[in-house]
């Protein structure tokens, strides 16, 4: 098991190196002149040259790369041109919002997707199965911005049950962040009212974000469960008298969860990088919104910072999935 873990972590390290190289290449090659970009749109020749020296862009490429890596290691992502604020500080402010949104969306996806998939498999081709199939197709097909607007209209405008947008009411005094996740922070500080308020604000965007993910988890889990329930070891376990619920929830589901887990990992990676539309519709102050507004302003450093964070998140998700695989599947542990 230890070699398995070490190998996975080693692979993740290699991927991280690849990611850093890639962003370095993009940052130094893609824009016509990074010094001009750094100096700003109205800079004169001398200012550009000054920026070039200041940012070390006149140094050889390998030196620049080492400096880039050491900056990253100190969580230095450079400064935003538009606001002049350090990108690291911006990310520290915006990323928790996106993270919180994605965690809640993923929890919705898992808590509904896995049991519904299981239920559909048990009632294969019955009414429940048909219903969840339609539900899943809808989930994948609905454009999130449209679905988001629809929910806002129904739950905020007509019913008035939930707020339209934002993370908290503008009249609420924000908490001094601990983790940056409002739901967690409010609980840590024992502020139940704030927890409920944050929950009411996150409900709609998280639901919209979770929908395609929920749909895919449901479908994959369903087909894997159908497969597992047909397996020889289930026939044998039934013949030996294993209780029906244990047969389904332990003997079959554990096998079905392996492929489902792979999908969950991929979905998590995509989710973090695709919150833009949902964040825009619900005015959610996360990295998606930050990246898009920076890109529109031609502000390069924040975009690179978000790219790194998204890539890092993808890698961590992959690593966790690999490790969970090891926990679930004894054949991998000894391999």
């Amino acid at each position: 098991m230890l070699t398995y873990i070490l190998r996975r972590i080693g692979l993740a390290g290699l991927m991280l190196f690849g990611l850093v190289c890639l962003t370095f290449v993009i940052a130094n090659i893609a824009p016509s002149d990074p010094a001009a970009l750094a100096a700003g749109p109205d800079a004169g020749r001398s200012q550009i040259e000054q920026a070039r020296r200041e940012y070390g862009l006149d140094r050889p490429l390998h030196e620049q790369f080492l400096r880039y890596v050491s900056d990253l290691a100190r969580l230095e992502f450079g400064r935003s041109i538009a606001t002049g604020r350090p990108v690291g500080a911006d990310l520290a402010r915006y990323f928790p919002a996106t993270l919180e949104l994605c965690i809640v969306a993923m929890i919705i996806g898992l808590v509904l997707g896995v049991p519904l998939g299981m239920l559909s498999a048990l009632h294969k081709d019955g009414p429940i199965d048909h219903f969840t199939r339609i539900f899943a197709v809808t989930g994948v097909a609905l454009p999130p911005f449209w679905f988001g607007l629809l929910l806002q209209l129904a739950f905020a405008a007509w019913l008035g049950w939930l707020p339209t947008s934002g993370r908290l009411s503008v009249f609420t005094e924000p908490l001094e962040p601990i983790t940056g996740l409002l739901l967690v922070d409010s609980l840590l500080r024992g502020n139940g009212g704030m927890f409920l308020e944050a929950a009411s604000y996150i409900a709609l965007p998280a639901l919209v974000l979770s929908f395609p993910c929920l749909a895919q988890i449901l479908r994959v889990n369903r087909s894997e469960m159908v497969e597992a329930l047909r397996a020889d070891y289930i026939v044998a376990a039934r013949a030996h008298g294993v209780r029906p619920w244990r047969l389904v929830v332990v003997h079959a589901l554990k096998n079905a969860m392996l492929p489902t887990l792979a999908i969950i990992g991929l979905r998590w990676g995509w989710m973090i990088s695709s919150t833009v539309l949902v964040e825009t519709v619900f005015d959610w102050p996360g990295t998606g919104l930050y990246a898009v507004s920076s890109a529109i302003a031609g502000d390069f450093k924040p975009v690179m910072g978000v790219t790194l964070i998204v890539g890092l998140n993808f890698m961590i998700a992959n690593l966790l999935v690999d490790l969970l695989y090891g926990v679930l599947d004894p054949r991998l542990r000894s391999a």
Partner: protein, 328 residues
Amino acid sequence: MTTLLEIDDYRLAFDTFDGTLHVLDGIDIRVEAGETLGVVGETGCGKSVLARSILRLNPTPPARVVSGEIRFRGEDVLALPEAGIRRLRGSAIAMVFQDPATYLNPLLTVATQMEDAIRGQDAAAGGRVRSRKAASAVAADLLAAVGLPEPARLLRSHPHQLSGGMRQRVLIAMALLGNPSLLVADEPTTALDVTVQAQVLALIAGLVRERGLALILISHDLGVVSASCARVAVMYAGTVVEEAPTGELLDRPLHPYSQGLIAAVPDLDRPEVRPRGIAGSIPSLLHPPPGCRFHPRCERATERCRVEKPLLRPLLPGRRVACHHADA
């Protein structure tokens, strides 16, 4: 002797997209307590489906019981509610399966699988459910009883860490957990090396003797069946065509199919006699031949065989044959 299992005119069909498969067509079998019965036949003749029918393990749909009864100790298994059939599974009737690699759950330890079986049987019986620890002790005893060393270590292993022979022994130990009175072994040695086959067969024979179990041993291999069973039923395309004491069947098969089957086995004592195959191939169960299902391949087939299904009739003491033309 008391009759343990009676299967009467049992017909089972599978409803598929292509149509209805008439998999079992009027099976008649009887097993007394402590008796050993072999069931032989080619692949696809319905042996495994028959074995699974006894514990209602064929998924419905697609499987559908057309007619007949399966009585265990006089109780109709097919009419039992779900709770009733669960009371039999593992505790009264147990099964040993074909390929131990696929019939053990790859993700669960041997201990978990055996404990779940014991505790499930306890729950179905309506009594107190034993603790995992108590169940584990029972499991360890049985692993030792089937000749596996270091039961404690074995219980902690996963199936992929065991050899094929060990896995088959684990499956046999699992079948014995509930102290059953009938053991149904479906091709228990097919997936094993020849040397291991002999050991597993000897193990099953020993357990049957020691515990006074009744055994239904299903195999495509006449040799396997003749070594372990007192009586043999020969199956062809979903029907039992002949039933006889093992020695008598081997010496003098009465049904043309049994005769063909035995002639197809190479005789090591007389290598000059070449084994003969049976002409033709097994019929489609989608449109089985009318009358006797064997008639298209039978040298003795007449008009009557094409129209009238022969019933399994007693021909000699202890021998039954389903053929219009067989005579003592």
